[in-house]
């Protein structure tokens, strides 16, 4: 499980590099965010929540049964809009409001 950074989308703002609890992301060549050792990622999604342009996607590694789907997240005030792109390209969007508590 790890992250993937879309170089086309990344604007090099560095916000993801600041929050990673493992300090795994750096601004590299062409002022793009880079993750050199994706196998060190914990999957906490902190970086993707910070990214203003949704350049960061999370995926499940093949070794833990990942099928190629991608998870994106967009923050809008107290809302988190989660987009799951399924392996066949179809999308599912789930919005969670942080002012609303878990039911469980």
């Amino acid at each position: 499980m790890s992250i993937e950074i879309n170089k086309e989308k990344c604007v090099g703002c560095g916000r993801c590099t600041e929050v990673c609890p493992g300090s795994l992301i750096k601004i590299g060549e062409n002022s793009n965010a880079e993750i050199k050792e994706p196998q060190r990622c914990w999957g906490c999604v902190s970086c993707a929540k910070e990214c203003p342009v949704q350049a960061i996607a999370l995926f499940l590694g093949k070794d833990i049964g990942g099928l190629g789907g991608r998870l994106f997240v967009k923050k809008e005030e107290s809302l988190l809009h989660w987009t799951i792109v399924k392996p066949d390209g179809r999308k599912e969007i789930i919005t969670v409001d942080s002012r609303e508590s878990n039911k469980y």
């Binding site: 790890s2 914990w42 999957g43 093949k62 833990i64 599912e92 789930i94 969670v96 508590s101 469980y104």
Partner: protein, 557 residues
Amino acid sequence: MKLQVQKLYTDFLIIGGGTAGCWAALAFSENSNKKILIVEKANIKRSGCLAAGVNALNAYIAPGKKPQDYVDYARADAAEIVRGDLLLTMAQGLNRAVNGLEKAGLTILKDEHGGYAMRGERNVKINGENIKPILARKISSNPQISVLNRVNAFEYIVSGNRICGVYAIGIDSPVLYVIYARAVLCSTGGACGLYKPNNPGFSRHKMWYPPFNTGAGYAMGILAGAEMTTLEMRFVALRCKDTIAPTGTLAQGVGAKQINSCGEVYENKYGISTSQRIYGTVVENLKGRGPCFLKTSGISKQQEFDLYKAYLNMAPLQTLKWVESGEGPSMKNVEIEGTEPYIVGGHTASGYWVSTERETTIRGLFAAGDVAGGCPQKYVSGALAEGEIAAKSALKYMDESFFEIDGKEISKRKQWLESFLNRLDSEFSTDELEGEMQAAMDKYAGGISSNYSFSEKSLGIADEKIFEIERKSENLAALDMMSLVYILELKERLTLCRSVIAHLAARKETRWHIFAENSDYPECSEKWKLYVNSKMENGKLNIILRPLVKEGEFYEH
């Protein structure tokens, strides 16, 4: 590469800006106008256990219940090996901590009377996705508190058993920090990565505990001669297979039962304490009735959707797994497994041996949260409560003067660190040695592949292997500051491994299945109703057995 030495001075130094550390800083500032410095290896905005978000506040005293009820529950779950004084003082602070979090901006579910909606007897329902940014915001708006982000602490500065400060290195820049303080709090969290994880391949860091909490606090304490307690009580979590996502939400939220592959509910057969739930799963597997599941199939679509949301708030990859496979929990039961063992004093009782005031056996050094021992079932709110107690004790202590270390000592550290940075090549990589350590612990010190069980003989082999890896680790090479941090992390894990092995060998009984499954002594014994502690003296680790401390007692070293 050369390191630049930078000296800093503060009144109250907090090592690790996580749950307990941030709260301690805030509590200290409310009671004093002295300076506070937090040293944090990541960035306090999203570091440690809370980075991904948490699901509930697991420790709260519900209306009609008393702090003593919490003590009784934790004591029973840990089969008696707890500190009554620590549990009671923590339990008395739980509700204040929860109220404080709500005031800071955390969403907590209310019932129709305006009280907190409870999940069971002790849990408060929240939206915990943004719990860490909420804490960080409170810190950054407080002018008394400074934060050094991306600075990794690795050794205490101690003189005559008094804490003077800490050595740390910059992760982004080649700096050796020498930080002096009048009192110090260690709140670096627990340790993972000692044992081979569930998924040792590409996804090796997809583990329960944050892979970046590598046990620095324990190792620094052990090497400085601090007394440690109950390191043999390892923690193993019951998790969703592959994603290692929590199972409590399924068990408590939608009432899913643990079933074996024949569809039989087995959880009642073995007992329902944390270790018994995992023990049951291991035994069912051993008897050929695995794999085991949480029976979720048949829940409603609405429940399924609520679960998707709940998991997005704490373990989003589980929701990805359900959705990408097209098989949600209403259709398919969720397979479960035990994780590799961790050392986590917030769940079990392992960590620093502290006084009732949370002072370690090193004068002026306090401990709180997952790194502090004797007080299991702390969780988030207990870590906050302990942070508050430790901060108030530190304020009372406050050494008058700074003790500055001899320049030669600083040069020695500098040269040692530079030796890794200037070595161009090494026979082994840090990752290889980490793999060797995890394999040795897994096979000989009760990891997953040995069904968590060990013997005196196997522990002897583990100790020899760890000793040998420690020796090899002196010759590692670091390309940059980040890889130097990885070497230090490996070394602290190795230090902790040796103490864990010594503790496992010392307790000659099996008090907790899975957590300490001693195949030479498979029964629980009345004789071992005591603490197994350890202390490094002149390079040798000595075991100390101590009688139980009850609530109502005020324990001083």
